[in-house]
Structure formats: structure tokens, C-alpha cells
């Protein structure tokens, strides 16, 4: 009962906010207005790519963006509606390595308070990831492309410094509006563990010793 009442109250508050925002000729400063900022930060590991996508609609386009998320039009974004929107992003973001398409998985999503989104300051977060196929050591190219809401979208796309020292980013190439980013990187071969190297060295030295002893005995 309490939960139902508080849910109703929160829905009423959201609806009231919507009315207030739409009723006035809104002149709020300090906030993104008619753009939909979509910022991607991309982490490359030897066997996996992760994309953190932050989505912030400006105040003038927030209602339009929210209308697409709030499918039942109750001015409240349910977890299912947020998840459905995240899946839309998952479908529209394209990723390939050396020209071979990668299959993106939805890792998780978080949705801010609706009023923050309406004020042009709420960032939705969608985390995506894709396993990489086994790649040979050497130079590779990862291409990311986001064409979601290109009518109002502004984009940021950046490679993170790789956490794994087998991966080194050598260049980032973007189109003018950062919808597309190609990350050139070098994949180094896996390092052999020092203990394995030591064992191999000892074995080699032992074999050499045996061989020399045999030769010495044969020469006698």
C-alpha cells in the first residue's frame, strides 16, 4: 500500500514537472538545448572490447527522446522501457575489427531521474561489450560507428588507455562529427611467464651438459 502510494506520488510529481516544464516558455540557461550528446569511451583488451555510452539529451529535445523511451506514455520510465531503449542502442551501434563485424552484448544500463533528463542534464548510461576473435599479433583496426538519432545527435568517441599492456593504441581517426571512430592498435604476443622461461633455460642447460659429457666420453 505504501509502495503503491509512493509510486503514485512519484508519478504525480513527474507529471507535474512535465506540465510545469511544458507550460512555460522555458528559458533555462546553463544547459544543453537542442542537441543529444552521445559520448562513447572504448576499452580494448586482447580478447574483448567494452563500450561505455553516456546519452544526454538537451532540454529542447528531451521530451522527444523521452517519448521514444516512455512507450506507454505514463511520464515514467520503467526498468523494462529503459532496457528496451538500451537494446535499441545495442542494435544501432556498429563495431568491427579489421572489417569483421563484432556482436555487441548489452552489459547493463542505468537511467537517471526523468526530471533530470527533462532539464537537459540527465545522462543515461549503456554499457556494451563484444568478445574479440583470436587475433594474430600485429596491427589491427577497430571501427566504432553510432548513428543513433543523427537528426539531433552530437557525438564523442574516445579510446581509453588499454589496461592490458599487450594492447597499444597507435592512432584514432574520426569523421568530423565523431559518429565514427577507427582505433588503430597493436596487439603484442602473450608474454611467456618468467617461471616457464626459467624452467626452459634450466632444461636447455641440462641437455647441453649431458651432450657435452657424452661427447667427452666418446672422444676418450
Amino acid at each position: 500500500m505504501t509502495t503503491a502510494r509512493s509510486s503514485w506520488r512519484s508519478k504525480r510529481a513527474v507529471a507535474l514537472t512535465l506540465i510545469l516544464v511544458l507550460a512555460g516558455a522555458v528559458a533555462i540557461s546553463a544547459h544543453r538545448r537542442d542537441e543529444y550528446l552521445q559520448a562513447a569511451r572504448i576499452a580494448i583488451d586482447p580478447d574483448r572490447v567494452e563500450i561505455a555510452l553516456d546519452l544526454t539529451p538537451g532540454i529542447s529535445v528531451a521530451a522527444d527522446v523521452l517519448a521514444r523511451i516512455d512507450r506507454d506514455g505514463d511520464t515514467f520510465v520503467s526498468p523494462d522501457e529503459a532496457r528496451a531503449y538500451a537494446r535499441e542502442l545495442q542494435r544501432v551501434v556498429a563495431l568491427d575489427v579489421d572489417g569483421a563485424p563484432l556482436r555487441l552484448e548489452l552489459v547493463d544500463d542505468t537511467f537517471p531521474p526523468v526530471e533530470a533528463v527533462r532539464n537537459g542534464e540527465g545522462a543515461m548510461r549503456v554499457n556494451l561489450a563484444a568478445p574479440l576473435p583470436p587475433l594474430a599479433a600485429g596491427v589491427h583496426h577497430l571501427r566504432y560507428r553510432n548513428s543513433h538519432r543523427s537528426d539531433i545527435g552530437v557525438y564523442l568517441a574516445n579510446a581509453l588507455v588499454p589496461a592490458n599492456d599487450r594492447v597499444e593504441v597507435t592512432a584514432q581517426r574520426r569523421d568530423a562529427d565523431q559518429r565514427e571512430l577507427i582505433i588503430d592498435y597493436v596487439l603484442r604476443p602473450p608474454r611467456t611467464h618468467p617461471r616457464v622461461q626459467l624452467s626452459a633455460g634450466v632444461a636447455l642447460m641440462s641437455m647441453l651438459g649431458v651432450w657435452r659429457r657424452r661427447r667427452r666420453m666418446e672422444s676418450r
Binding site: 510529481a13 507535474l16 514537472t17 510545469l20 516544464v21 507550460a23 512555460g24 516558455a25 522555458v26 528559458a27 533555462i28 540557461s29 546553463a30 544543453r32 538545448r33 542537441e35 550528446l37 559520448a39 569511451r41 553516456d54 538537451g58 531521474p113 526530471e115 533530470a116 527533462r118 532539464n119 542534464e121 540527465g122 545522462a123 552530437v154 557525438y155 564523442l156 574516445n158 579510446a159 581509453l160 588507455v161 593504441v169 584514432q172 574520426r174 569523421d175 568530423a176 562529427d177 565523431q178
Partner: protein, 363 residues
């Protein structure tokens, strides 16, 4: 009686600070702090916190104090009240004497130029409030119709908050947090060491008139960066200027722990004079904290200069909205005009190795 006690405490702090610095100097306590060793600067800041807390009642004291381990450290934003709820001591809830004690603490903590920047950013928000910038529908005294927590944006000098994360101490780690709309100062102190990252100085309006003078809180940052990009020859500009538009901060609030791949021209490709210009831009952020801490920080950044990059996006004509980034092993600075407006600037200052004093705490 309370004001008498507060006045006595404030006078005592002033006398103590002057005594520690060795005599009266023009510019007050901040100028005095400039001469202090880092350990003495911390002692001076701690004394100023004690002066403030002794002027507060029990309720206010509990509002300002947070445990060192907890969510408060990362609870900062560029957003105004109404859509981001800060915790701590709200300036608008203080008496004039208590407010003066907060400003004295800031003056002791920051360099004279850092203090100027902070007060000009706050005053800019007051301009936003009085010109109706914060009120949906126009002028309305600055309080949005919905009020706090329900979508109404609240601007003005009253909407800045102070917090101590951990107990102010000369020997244990703690953090001084001061922020509001377009401002986040996060200063971690541990004895003679300090880290003022992540911090976010921003401005809207970026230019306004106060007492007949034009005020530009981040004007020097802008002008020095344009001077540097125009000091580069065409080949160097080609290396520095990114081919794409950068619409916002890449490592703004909520991006703790992330390190992006550096881009632009490497400082080793700059002339000695240009390197000096680059460091002079960096000082606009590193020099917000008192010189006692800014000097070792600048020395560290100078030492990393061979691994430091300068990137630019946008026109090179001063007066245009252009983004720039300075990035080194222990430094990220971004300057991002919002939606192509030169009158609305966001910046961020980070040390990926030492945000919230992580490096100090790991020692």
C-alpha cells in the same frame, strides 16, 4: 553573544595566520599562506577549519562533517541545485559571520588567483539568478517553479556547499570540498602533501560586468590557450588540431578512473617558449590551490612535460568557441565551450594517478 564569540575566533585565526607567515602582508591570509611550507599551509588550513566549526552550532557541525571513507568524496557535479542535491553546509544557511569564516577558509586554502576565480564563478551564478537564468519561464527570483528536488533549478551564491570528508587534521588524510553550480573544488590533504583533483571550474556567463569592471572568471585560460595555438607554425598546428568537433568534456563528472588515449602535439615538439606557454596554461588550474602545494605540483607536471600533449578543436581565432585538452601522465585538463557558446564554459582538472589523493593514500 554568538557574534562576539565568532568575531573573536576570526580575529584569532587572522592573527595566527599572520604570525605563522612572519608578519603582515598585502592580500591577507592567502598571501601569507603563499610563503608557508606545505606542512605549515596544512596547519593554517586546519586552523581555519577549526575557526569555522567553533562558530557553528551542533546541527551545522554535523552537516559539514562526513566520514573519510564513503560516497561523499565523489558527490560533486557541475549541475545546479534542484537537479543535483549536494550535501554539506549550504552558504545560504549561514550567518554573515559564519559565511565570512568559510570565505576565510577558502582564502587560506587557495592562491589569490584561485580565490578570485572561485568568487567570480560564484558571482557569475548570482548574475544568472538575478537575470532569471534559473527560473523556468523567466525571471522569478532565481528559484525554479518546481523548487528543489522537483525539477526547479536554483542558482546564486547561496547555493554553494562546504564539506569536510574526514576530520581536518595536520597528520591524517582528509578532504575539503567546496562546490555548487559550475564549481567543484576537491582538495585532499595529508600532512605536507595535497591533491586538488578532480576539480571543475566552469563559468556562465563567462563574461559579465561587476562594479563597472568586466569580469571573466576563466578569461586567462581562454586567452593563454589561444595565444599558444597561434604561436605554433602551420605544421605544428596540424599536429595539435583534431579533425573532429569535440562537443563537451570527455572526462567530466562521473568519469572517475578513466584515462583516455592522449592526442594532439607532444610537448617535445614545441619550442622552449611554447613549452613555457603550455605550463603557464596548466598553472591556471594547478595554481588554484595555495602556492605551497601548487609549486610541487607544477614541478611534477614540468617533469612529465616530454609525455604531455596539447590538443585543439575548433577555430584558432580568439573569440571563437574552441575546445582544448592538455594531457600528461599525471594530468588531464579539458576546456569545453558548451554548444558552441563562448559564454558558457566547462573545464575539468584531473590527475589520473592521484584523483581524491589516491596516490597519497597508497603510500
Amino acid at each position: 553573544m554568538t557574534w562576539v564569540r565568532t568575531s573573536i575566533v576570526l580575529i584569532a585565526v587572522l592573527v595566527l595566520t599572520v604570525w605563522v607567515s612572519g608578519g603582515p602582508q598585502r592580500g591577507g591570509t592567502a598571501a601569507a599562506a603563499r610563503k608557508l611550507s606545505p606542512a605549515d599551509a596544512t596547519a593554517s588550513i586546519v586552523a581555519a577549519t577549526r575557526a569555522l566549526t567553533s562558530a557553528l552550532d551542533e546541527g551545522a557541525r554535523s552537516k559539514v562533517q562526513f566520514p573519510f571513507e564513503g560516497p561523499q568524496k565523489a558527490r560533486w557535479s557541475n549541475l545546479p541545485s534542484g537537479i543535483f542535491q549536494r550535501q554539506g553546509l549550504r552558504m545560504g544557511d549561514l550567518t554573515p559571520a559564519q559565511r565570512a569564516a568559510v570565505m576565510n577558509l577558502l582564502q587560506t586554502t587557495l592562491s589569490p588567483d584561485g580565490f578570485r576565480k572561485v568568487t567570480e564563478i560564484m558571482r557569475g551564478d548570482e548574475v544568472l539568478r538575478t537575470t532569471g537564468g534559473g527560473a523556468p519561464g523567466g525571471r522569478g527570483g532565481g528559484r525554479g517553479r518546481g523548487g528543489p528536488g522537483s525539477g526547479g533549478l536554483i542558482f546564486g551564491e547561496d547555493e554553494y556547499y562546504l564539506a569536510f570528508v574526514g576530520t581536518p587534521s595536520t597528520t591524517s588524510p582528509w578532504m575539503l570540498q567546496f562546490g555548487g553550480h559550475h564549481l567543484a573544488i576537491n582538495l585532499t590533504l595529508w600532512g605536507s602533501e595535497a591533491s586538488m583533483t578532480p576539480s571543475l571550474p566552469a563559468a556562465q556567463p563567462a563574461s559579465y560586468t561587476f562594479e563597472g569592471k568586466e569580469i571573466r572568471p576563466l578569461g586567462k585560460e581562454n586567452d593563454k590557450a589561444f595565444a599558444l595555438i597561434n604561436a605554433l607554425d602551420a605544421a605544428a598546428q596540424r599536429q595539435a588540431i583534431l579533425s573532429s568537433r569535440v562537443a563537451d568534456l570527455v572526462l567530466g563528472p562521473g568519469q572517475d578512473g578513466r584515462v583516455i588515449q592522449p592526442e594532439g602535439i607532444r610537448a617535445t615538439a614545441l619550442s622552449s617558449a611554447q613549452q613555457t606557454m603550455l605550463l603557464d596554461i596548466v598553472r591556471e588550474w594547478a595554481g588554484i590551490m595555495t602556492d605551497s602545494f601548487a609549486e610541487p605540483r607544477m614541478a611534477e607536471i614540468r617533469g612529465n612535460l616530454p609525455e604531455t600533449y596539447f590538443a585543439w578543436s575548433g577555430s584558432t581565432t580568439n573569440g571563437s568557441a574552441a575546445y582544448f585538452r592538455i594531457q600528461g601522465p599525471t594530468l588531464v585538463i579539458e576546456y569545453a565551450p558548451q554548444q558552441g557558446s563562448v559564454d558558457h564554459i566547462h573545464t575539468i582538472y584531473r590527475d589520473p594517478t592521484n584523483d581524491y589523493g589516491a596516490k597519497l593514500l597508497a603510500k
